[in-house]
Amino acid sequence: MILRNIDNTPSEQVKEKKKRSQLHDMWRRFRRNPVGMVGLFIVLVLIFSAIFADVIAPAVYDPILGEVPAYEFQDLGNRNTFPSREHPFGTDNFGRCIFNRVVHGSRISLLVGFVVVGISMVVGVILGTVAGYYGKASDSIIMRFIDIMMAIPNILLAISIVAALGAGLVNLMIAVGIGSIPLFARQVRSSVLSVREQEFIEAARAIGAKDLRIMFLHILPNCMAPIIVRATMGMAVAILSAAALSFIGLGVEPPTPEWGAMLSEGRRFIRDHWPSTVFPGLAIALVVFGLNMLGDGLRDVLDPRLKQ
């Protein structure tokens, strides 16, 4: 103990402490934010269920087909049953356990969320940074392009793209991802505009830093807070839109346990069997609610100016 204290030079100690305390401070503020904490909890449950889907709902052994994933196993003698001890959410029209399908569906939702936000964030951040940093002609061109994209309501743009590319999970993610680019681009552009004018940028330029270096090493790190908040809320929008497209038949093909597609299938039996529509939708609502709350909480902690 004593030896280690002697080894550390004071300056290192101070530096270490400062770095830790900044993150620590953020976490302390976040912890006191009930909305954010509930959101974080819900999102952690989603991630947990996606990672351990095979443990929570393990593959089933079928005498004829062999090992079958839990979300595909059909118990045809038990179709459209109601919640029981064996099937907490009941079974669907093919005798598949709805609980198992909802659990496995979390993988797809999480994948959709990450890929969509990934696409729109990368493209949006690049467009927004270039527009904000260079200004003038490049700004005009990029922003007019963004205006055009914003003139088409998101869900309609996605319908148009998926209709052209064909239904399927990958095309669905591309469509929703493209639709979300404007949000990121505009957000990043306005952040870049304010950071660009600060003195440390001028200093970086004075010592000969190149544009790319200034943009990505000096400006962007200072725009991270709003980007993180947007990404969290963007994930909620992505999951919601993807489920909506699957619901109208433009997304994931049936046997896949996607929540929107499950709703669409269950809808045919709405008169006699409520579990097929209640539980998949509840899962979507809960995850979107969680992500929105997490986003609200992060915004309060990271960037109070964003608070509307």
Partner: protein, 308 residues
């Protein structure tokens, strides 16, 4: 004022051209030969080739786009593969229903959202405020297609109070309007609340209080006028999103509007209807935004003076 309106109308032209290019491009890359789709699979090759020539499908990309725009300006978006009728005629038959639905949805969101937002802001951090804030977050998180299904289960199937589909009677409109308007009501409430919170902290409100003005007059007259400005923009934007959201709501309740027609066309691969419908709704959306901006300039003289 006329100058401002004219200027805004002119600014809309490049946006509409851009939108039409995006939609044309989607039509261009959509798989399937429109000539074969129109004549049927078994048609003789010469007939198909003749129709291809007649439809201009053999022309270069840019020529086809120019033809597309010229036709669009003349109100021709091609013919439906299914009914052979003009896309615009098909759209016009159904659009009034969608417009009504979106209009009622907007009215509902204003009637619920604005009063709740005001009360929430004037009683900040009270139980009412916390409950309303939570409900608002929940309202924006619940997928409206799922909410629609849940309302059908509760009010149509279990209680038998309201019809689950169609718009034959006035009471049949209730569920679709609630389904469509809830999310927007939550959004309007959130914006009203934050805008109101900002306004009631301003000096002129303190002055009004100091001179002994009644609190109700201060809130509902002095503060509300200024607080409503951002709300107007939000409601206008929202109306456009409701036109898009109607796609889902209409298909749940079998409302014979444009949205449901587009969803049905996805199933029958009637691409001219899908792309034409998206283009049409995007243009309507742009027009609504223009109207909102004009209204905005009307209620806030500060904006108008910027455009002199």
């Amino acid at each position: 004022m006329y100058k401002y309106i004219l200027k805004r109308l002119l600014m809309m032209i490049p946006i509409i051209l851009g939108v039409s290019f995006v939609i044309f491009f989607m039509t261009y890359i959509t798989p399937g030969d429109p000539a074969i789709m129109t004549l049927g699979e078994g048609a003789p090759p010469e007939a198909i080739e003749a129709l291809r020539e007649e439809m201009g499908l053999n022309d270069p990309f840019l020529v086809r786009y120019v033809t597309y725009v010229v036709n669009m300006v003349q109100g021709d978006l091609g013919n439906s593969f299914m009914t052979r009728r003009g896309v615009v005629d098909e759209i016009m038959d159904r659009f009034p229903t969608t417009l009504m639905l979106a209009f009622y949805g907007t009215v509902l969101s204003v009637l619920i959202g604005i009063p709740l937002g005001i009360i929430s802001a004037t009683k900040q951090y009270s139980i009412f405020d916390n409950a309303a804030t939570a409900a608002g977050l929940l309202g924006v998180s619940i997928p409206n297609f799922w909410l629609g299904l849940m309302l059908i289960i509760l009010f149509s199937i279990n209680l038998g109070w309201l019809p689950p589909s169609g718009i034959a009677t006035p009471s049949a409109w209730i569920l679709p309007v609630i389904t469509l308007g809830t999310g927007s009501a939550a959004m309007v409430m959130r914006i009203t609340r934050s805008s109101m919170l900002e306004v009631i902290r301003q000096d002129y409100i303190r002055t009004a209080r100091a001179k002994g003005q009644k609190e109700s007059v201060i809130i509902w007259k002095h503060a509300l006028r200024n607080a409503l400005i951002p709300v107007v923009t939000a409601v206008g934007l929202d109306f456009g999103f409701l036109l898009g959201g109607a796609v889902l709501t209409e298909s749940i309740y079998a409302v014979p509007g444009l949205g449901r027609f587009m969803v049905d066309s996805i199933r029958t691969r009637d691409f001219p209807i899908i792309q034409g419908g998206v283009l049409f709704l995007a243009i309507v959306f742009s027009l609504v935004n223009l109207l909102v901006d004009i209204l905005y300039a009307y209620i806030d003289p500060r904006i108008k003076s910027q455009y002199k």
